[in-house]
Symmetry: C2
Subunit: 409 residues, 2 copies
């Protein structure tokens, strides 16, 4: 076995959730990721975890459910699932997600059927997502290669070779090499990202202006008392963890009702197993009022119309065009990677930590501060090599943040 | 893909649980069995199932739990698991188990730790097993090959070759060939088994006498009004299903307190991931009073001492020595197969259907009829080529049932 696989597992445990003695850990993994899931479990116990529960999902079986079950059956969310999620929250399970995307496998499924199921499930289970996004527990995401994904990224290669090359790309992006001290390298990396968000916090911009040659011309207002973050975060009980492996972004909270202009996507978006390509969104007073896509417009519609908040922004993130993932020139067709190669926005829920005191605010207080409370959160990429980003201060000054796709601040 | 794999999946659905329109189905599968699990799901939906839930287990992760969790943590059975099992019972989920044994992987785990966890889990969850064993819903078991199992059965072969050969053996034993009509062949097979149990029911034996050259000399009393069964069974609502694929046995209910003598095992027994080999049991008035094993006596002890009923018998089954599985001369190291190559007994719970009116009896009534109500049920094999089985009638007549390992009745 590739030594980097165990190092990635260890990274998820020691840096990702930064597991504590006697902590409970929940691992969500695709069954294709069993090998790394087992390593994660081993490493978590080694690091002192009390109990590590693995929940496997099988996307091919999910597809069969959507193709064969009635809407009524799909939308019945049994009570035990609510209780199970409550158990994970009550017992403060740290979360590790192992994603292994299989874009395209849902192509023959009606996206509105997925949507209806997803809305019903969210009604009963979103409390758990809210709990996690509210930094009550440490959480992290890592990725594992699979043949479908590998062939999508490297269509010109044989399957085995493609899988190997995708693993290489995952390790590189995650700063895992055969012989590095991952933890030390990540500590340095996290410190670097901190420099940017500290500076951005000092500026305390009122809004950001995005412009590039393909037509993006967008002003994104930021909430008052917003906070930039990136790399590592703190839980409510002050425990440092790194929610994304890899991560290259600094991000903050847009003002839900103060976004205007047009934004063009620069990378396809994998949503519920379908790839939405070449799309744009028009915003007016924060809301998406018009949109189109080259492929899977129906899925984009589903994403936008998910709930009241899903047509408003919840996150704006800045990533230099010269970061390693971006420079690799690999299109991963997966948000965990592609969002770290490109400036991105998220439709849906905002992170409470992106506003001062947000983690202690009630839903009502967050809403009053123009934070998005949607049940969903979907990032999409719009950065480009020629992106210009300017910050507008409360004094009316305009400051260059990005010139030609890179930080200049 | 081997066409026999889909045929085996279809067999599980159409003969095994004989699924009904709009029925719920629960599939329990090892994650190594994903390929056939998906086929089972497909075939179940094709046959009209309403909802097919797959629960994957990962034995390698279970092993890590036992190696790393404290007894206290292992023995906490969360309430949601109880509710989940209740959900499957309330909604009458038919059950398909796909087993894929990995004998030996628990070798470094303390069997008493497994035992303690198992006892606690059973206290809270045995209602579900009781529900299924009480024929409230159709259930069936099929098997899938995996490399560990294959190398155990065919140690002299390369892994790939061993896996292929094990699949061949599974298909053969399950009466699945490239070109047969499995369902029709199974109908014939079930009719054949019926001939034996109808005859045995007519005799209405008081007890059975087992004797062979390696030292087995055992009298097994049968409960009054016992019923022999085999091949296919009926649920409480009169729906025919076949609980084991493969199956070659006819079986009935021993009298819990009327078993005397010694029995020698003739095949190793896989219990909680450990192989118990060359063991014997001495019975007095139904109870195991003495025992020994060449390997893993600790596990045998755990099995026998599980609860009040686990040191008494709950099933006695007759299988001719000339059945296909037996004639294949393959030692499967797995009960689903080996029990169908050899006469066997089970320590633990009896099947209520093996006594007249049993499915409608309360626990108290079953107990009054000397039925075993243990929370566990473990078959072990003791048949041999020279086995003699005689039946003792209430009139005192002694009738040959087996001579030299085969039915003569």
């Amino acid at each position: 076995m590739d030594i980097r696989k165990r190092k990635l597992a260890e990274l998820a445990v020691r840096v990702g959730i930064n597991v504590r003695e006697n902590e409970n850990v929940l691992v969500n993994a695709s069954i294709d990721c069993a090998e790394i899931a087992r390593l994660v479990v081993e490493e978590a116990y080694k690091a002192g975890a009390k109990q590590v529960i693995v929940k496997y999902r099988d996307e091919l079986i999910s597809r069969l459910h959507f193709l064969n079950q009635s809407d009524e059956t799909l939308c019945e969310i049994p009570e035990y699932l609510v209780l199970e999620n409550k158990y994970y929250c009550d017992n403060k399970f740290a979360r590790i997600s192992i994603v292994s995307p299989k874009a395209g496998i849902m192509d023959d499924v009606d996206p509105m059927k997925v949507q209806r199921q997803s809305i019903e499930a969210n009604k009963k289970l979103s409390f758990a997502q809210e709990f996690v996004m509210g930094n009550n527990v440490p959480w992290t995401i890592i990725a594992a290669a699979n043949p479908i994904w590998a062939k999508k990224v490297f269509p010109e290669l044989e399957e085995n070779e493609a899988v190997e090359k995708l693993w290489d790309a995952i390790y590189d992006a995650s700063r895992v090499t055969m012989d590095n001290d991952c933890k030390a390298d990540w500590d340095v990396h996290i410190k670097n990202l901190e420099k940017y968000f500290v500076k951005l916090n000092e500026y305390n911009f009122k809004s950001l202006l995005f412009k590039n040659s393909i037509g993006t011309d967008l002003e994104v207002g930021l909430v008052k008392n917003h906070l930039w973050a990136g790399g590592a975060e703190f839980t409510l009980d002050n425990h440092l963890y790194a929610p994304n492996i890899p991560t290259e972004e600094v991000f903050t909270m847009p003002d839900k009702y103060n976004v205007n202009g047009r934004v063009y996507s620069t990378k396809p978006l994998d949503f519920q197993g379908k790839l939405i390509t070449d799309f744009y969104l028009d915003f007016k007073d924060g809301k998406v009022v018009n949109y189109d896509a080259k492929e899977n417009k129906e899925s984009l519609k589903a994403l936008i119309e998910f709930d009241e908040g899903s047509c408003y922004l919840g996150e704006v993130a800045l990533i230099s065009h010269n970061t390693p993932i971006s420079m690799s020139n690999i299109l991963f067709y997966n948000t965990l990677f592609d969002e770290n190669a490109s400036c991105h926005l998220a439709l849906g829920r905002a992170y409470p930590m992106n506003i001062k005191g947000g983690l202690e605010m009630s839903r009502e207080e967050l809403a009053k501060n123009n934070a998005n409370l949607s049940m969903t959160h979907n990032d999409f990429m719009f950065g480009s090599a020629d992106m210009s980003v300017k910050g507008v201060t409360y004094e009316g000054d305009i400051i260059d943040i990005f010139v030609n796709g890179n930080f200049v601040i």
